[in-house]
């Protein structure tokens, strides 16, 4: 029932969600830590910039990314000058777009978790001979696991359903940049409702299973709250 293109679209979707979520968590960890504890006055500028992808239409985001990553953009142009390829219509470009698109969903829970895990618990750990890195690894991280899981789930789920940004910067190349949401759109355009159905149902089931898992874990370990 699933065509080879459909299967590869699902695979690209999954790969994209996984890679962008992983990279986002790693990159946001230091940024969120800094944001949670800085007393710098300009922090609100950073906070506003981080929240921007939440309110912008995905097409606007995609449009600027296309300009930036394409052959004539800062990033794409510089890459080409150095002998690499530009990033428009590539999987790497998709990952970058997806990361920016999901940025607020990772930063928000992480910053909140780090704010809660800082303070007194860190002082206690310091008086118990824990060095700064030790404190981060053995006190902050375990106390923030709730924030990490929330961030990971939101980012992953958000990436699964992405459409606007991808169509702008990734185009529609089967096997490379065509994700499930775009494949569904193509099937509908071609009046192939049966194929659209199959793919759409798979996405519904997948997303539901994911959320079920999270809420199940939540009940067992009390680790996630998606507010």
């Amino acid at each position: 029932m699933l065509s080879a293109d459909d299967l590869s679209a699902l695979w690209v979707t999954f790969k994209l969600a996984l890679i962008s979520t992983g990279l986002l968590l790693a990159l946001c960890m230091p940024l969120a830590w800094w944001l949670a504890h800085t007393r710098w006055r300009g922090r609100s500028i950073i906070e506003a910039m981080i929240m921007l992808p939440l309110v912008l239409p995905p097409t606007v985001l995609g449009f600027y990314l296309l300009l930036l990553l394409g052959p004539h953009g800062w990033v794409g142009g510089s890459l080409q000058a150095m002998g690499f390829n530009h990033l428009a219509f590539t999987f790497s470009g998709l990952v970058i777009g997806s990361m920016i698109y999901s940025l607020p969903f990772v930063m928000q829970p992480l910053t909140a978790a780090f704010q809660a895990a800082g303070g007194r618990m860190l002082e206690v750990a310091a008086t118990l001979r824990a060095s700064p890195l030790d404190r981060f690894l053995y006190v902050v991280l375990p106390l923030s696991r709730r924030g990490f899981l929330t961030a990971a789930v939101l980012s992953f789920a958000h990436s699964l359903g992405e459409f606007g940004v991808i169509i702008m910067i990734g185009g529609n190349i089967p096997g490379q940049t065509q994700v499930a949401s775009i494949a569904i759109y193509n099937h509908v355009e071609a009046m192939d409702y049966a194929a659209a159905h199959t793919l759409a149902a798979i996405l519904v089931a997948l997303s539901f299973a994911l959320l079920l898992l999270v809420y199940g874990l939540n009940r067992k370990f009390k680790v996630v709250s998606i507010a």
């Binding site: 618990m121 206690v124 750990a125 310091a126 008086t127 118990l128 001979r129 060095s131 006190v139 106390l143």
Partner: protein
Amino acid sequence: MSIEARLQLQQGNFELDVTLDLPGSGVSALFGRSGSGKTTILRCLAGLERHAGIDLRVNGEIWQSQQHFVPVHQRPLGYVFQEASLFPHLMVAKNLEFGYRRLPPAQRKVALDETISLMGLETLLARYPQQLSGGQRQRVAMARALLTSPRLLLMDEPMAALDQRSKAEILPYLERLHQHLAIPIIYVSHAIHEVCRLADYLVLLEQGKVQAQGPLQQLLTQPDLPLAQDADAASMLLATVLQHTADEMSELQLPDGQRLLISRLQLAEGQNVRTRILARDVAISLVQPQFSSVNNCLRVELEQIEADPHPGHQLLLLRLAGQPLLARLSRRSVSRLQLQPGQQLFAQIKAVALD
């Protein structure tokens, strides 16, 4: 062996300017109202707050000076916070081991199982902090701090957040600490009865300044300090339980051999106790009274007669068995008996509390 600290700092409107010279053993209490700077001093000693105007030397080792700052995690100290602040994600056993495991084995001077039994934690090891009562949590926090084999133990009102019952539950453990540990303890408190029970040395703080510092007994009874001027002014006498009598009394012995009789208590003979005697419960007699119901009539020497906040009263500083004792008499009694410093007198003590 001592703790020498000089702290000068400004926080908003609050100015702290103190010089401390605390003994290298026993319990030193920082006593004062809220806002007097007690907690700030403790946090500065720990290195939790970093300010330029601090010099700190502990047993000859420089912890902070103008050029030098030892970070908190490298200072051999234990810190007990007002709220127990146990790690919520770790069981009691893991909380206890947190600091212990971070010490090189050669530096572990305090044994794990010994501390667990000292603080009565045997049955709590497999529990999470949320499953403990307030008093139990604070006991775990104290044990956790001890297990880092500190050379200085800092305690920030460890009983302030507890209800009356938990306080009563925890005090005996604090006293055990005092008796078993050779390390100096700095104890922040605004409750004078806690201080009387635990401290050896007292620092009186008032709005970021040291009002007085010295041995507890001396400061409690120094007539020009607010403690002696208070309506509930009291002296603390050290005594030993001598024996229990057939008529349900207990005899305490003072260092000079004189005895104090109190209602019978559940204490072992030979145990050292601290007694608290309110200044208003002490009466004076020139000769040993023979027809009085007061059992305790002890030889004292009058050292000093000072004014009392009440114009009709005077404060008498007496010496009993080498320890200072405060008496509050009416001005009329003082002049009627023609009391003079240097006189040998009898103090009739109406009530003795072991708090």
